[in-house]
Amino acid sequence: MTDDMTGARIVVHALREQGVDTVFGYPGGAVLPIYDEIFLQSDIRHVLVRHEQGAVHAAEGYARSTGKPGVVFVTSGPGATNSVTGLTDALMDSIPIVVITGQVPTFLIGSDAFQEADTVGITRPCTKHNWLVKDADRLAPTLHEAFHVAVAGRPGPVLVDIPKDVQFASGRYTKANPSNSQYQPSLTADEASIEALVDAIETAQKPLFYTGGGVINSGIKASKLLCQLVDATRFPITSTLMGLGAYPGSGRCWLGMLGMHGLYEANMAMHDCDLMINVGARFDDRITGRIDAFSPHSTKAHIDIDPSSINKIIHVDIPIIGDTAHVLKAVLAFWQSRGCKTNVEGVSDWWRQISEWQKVDCLAYESSCSTIKPQHALARLEALTQERKDRFICTEVGQHQMWAAQYLKFEEPNHWMTSGGLGTMGYGLPASIGVQLAHPDALVINVAGEASWLMNMQEMGTAVQYNLPVKQFILNNERLGMVRQWQELLHQERYSHSWSEALPDFVKLAEAFGAKGIVCKHPDQLDEVIMEMIEYDGPVLVDCLVEKHENCFPMIPSGKPHNEMLLATSASDDGVDEKGAVMV
């Protein structure tokens, strides 16, 4: 008995075997045979986006909120090139995505054929790995390998390029066998490194957990183990933008986000700690600030699955290479077997110091009864939605993104979707669509800036077509707010091209798509509008007209150490020197 079938059918079979239920895509000449197969079946739902970039971001939202890889179909040439921003975004944020691209037939490759692009060449630096499949017999094993590579070790986007003749050709279907793959990143760390960390945990006086996306990547179990370890040691914990939700925002050891726009207490604790336990974070420059002044007195431990993350930017004393869940489990077991010791006295002094920093109340802002302060809008959103366990938040990129990270509390992993590493404006709307498709009954809110939102607004059509009740909560300051803030602080208020002269009427725009639009002009209307947004059963957009010149604080200016951060109350325009201005 042979399992021969066409390449196109192999694709659909492989997806089914991989447990794929949803594909985001956009058809074209070079993928028509695959679309034909999609038409002939009903287990895999295809979601038609409006732009291929949207497809990849939607797949990212799907992936981040479920822990499963997101899948995308696009055609050759422009379909493939349109997916490049999404692929780069997923690579930077370690999101598992499988993109399947059509390609011109093998016998035309290299001839500048219609809609030919060197897709594997173009996407080589923005995928974890990619393949061009020229033989239908290789298709099934390559697709299975693609799914394996996307999720194994440090997750990331992969791409499989399939020429049209291979989609028509007949080939053998083979089943997945991931243990056969040559790619097997190791998950467990060596014992000596675990022991070194436990030694440090037992004696540290000013310990701090600095956690990141690598906890989320490792799965829900990793977050549970992290909470167990944190609550048992009573060590304070801060997290990067990418790691929010791994430890609950309401947890008693939680200090809030750290970094450039992180909380005062979190950054001060980073600067002054004597033991830093980095769990799945990568010492990004938004975190470290000036490298030579970064946490000068601490012993640094770093748990990461990717050896290239270790000692890349900051030299660490206790490198631990392994998967977060595996490592934390071993650390907990070893620490417990030695009697759960910590330096109780030292740590409570440390907490006393931290509570002094907390009194600074770094998120305080000047309130107003006539204009809507963006912080206030988010505080109300938080108050009116925090009960909802099924709340998922996406963001675009800019000030609103930072405010969302500061003013919303995340209680669980995988409920916060944001573009951190690449900072891609236009990420949030399609991501919210991906999340909503994976969680049809959940409350999915995209906290947006008007400029970012416009970058992929065409996806409102997708939301309407599939009747996805995504909430687009736009903090409209009529400015490229984050850019404007930098120009104010770094370029002596020369506001070069940082505002939009001709914004659309967002309510009419929503209506033109067939969605609901609500405008909110006054602080008194906020609660009502937010409730109306939540209760509306369908895609809805809120145009929330906020203060135009609000700055996002706290802020560590580029090139400054953690203990020189600007607060709303102390901000002056001598924040950044020339050396700092060179940094982004």
Partner: protein, 186 residues
């Protein structure tokens, strides 16, 4: 064919093999990279160096295991210890890369490079070129009445030295293969 004889070292997952990375001194390292012979694998390796701003002093590549579909790339690079460690870690991350060895760290190595020199001249210069070639154990692989092509194998330093000597004696053209390296036997 027999399994490749390379010591396990930098690819071991133990972080304790990482070297301290404090020094700012620029070091020259020879890396052996065993890769699956799939299309584009060389582009991935080279793209890594250009994309992340690392240096390549020399690079050689050829299939070494036909049945297993493996090629071996030898890269001579330079950088601070921190950069060199990053390079090996980044190389290890490439999916079709099977093994990465920093031969410079792992112990003594034998390094060889092959070069060919086209040297033109008559009379005294021609004789002198031939005499030096003999001292350097270079072979004459082509000759006309007015020129020689010498083939020489040796360390990159030896080839540099020979090139210096040939330059005033009529060196017209020079080609080098880049370094191939193996760890010495234990």
């Amino acid at each position: 064919m027999a399994a490749l004889k390379i010591k396990k070292g930098a690819t071991s997952r133990s972080a304790y093999n990482l070297r301290p990375t404090f020094s700012d001194d620029i070091e020259r390292h020879t890396l052996a990279v065993v890769v699956e012979n799939e299309p584009g694998v060389l582009a991935r390796v080279i793209g890594l160096f250009s994309g992340r701003g690392y240096n390549i002093e020399s690079l050689t590549v050829a299939e070494v295991d036909h049945m297993g579909g493996l090629s071996r790339i030898t890269i001579v690079t330079n950088g601070t210890p921190q950069v060199i460690t990053q390079i090996t870690a980044q190389l290890s991350r490439i999916v079709p890369v099977r093994e990465v060895h920093d031969l410079t760290v792992e112990g003594a190595t034998v390094e060889r490079e092959l070069a060919m020199f086209d040297v033109a001249g008559t009379g005294k210069k021609r004789l002198e070129a031939l005499r030096l070639a003999d001292i350097f154990r270079a072979r004459v692989v082509d000759s006309t009445l007015k020129s020689f092509i010498f083939e020489i194998t040796g360390t990159p330093e030896k080839i540099d030295a020979f090139a210096e000597l040939m330059r005033p004696l009529g060196l017209r053209e020079l080609v080098r293969t880049g370094v191939a390296a193996l760890p010495r036997g234990e």
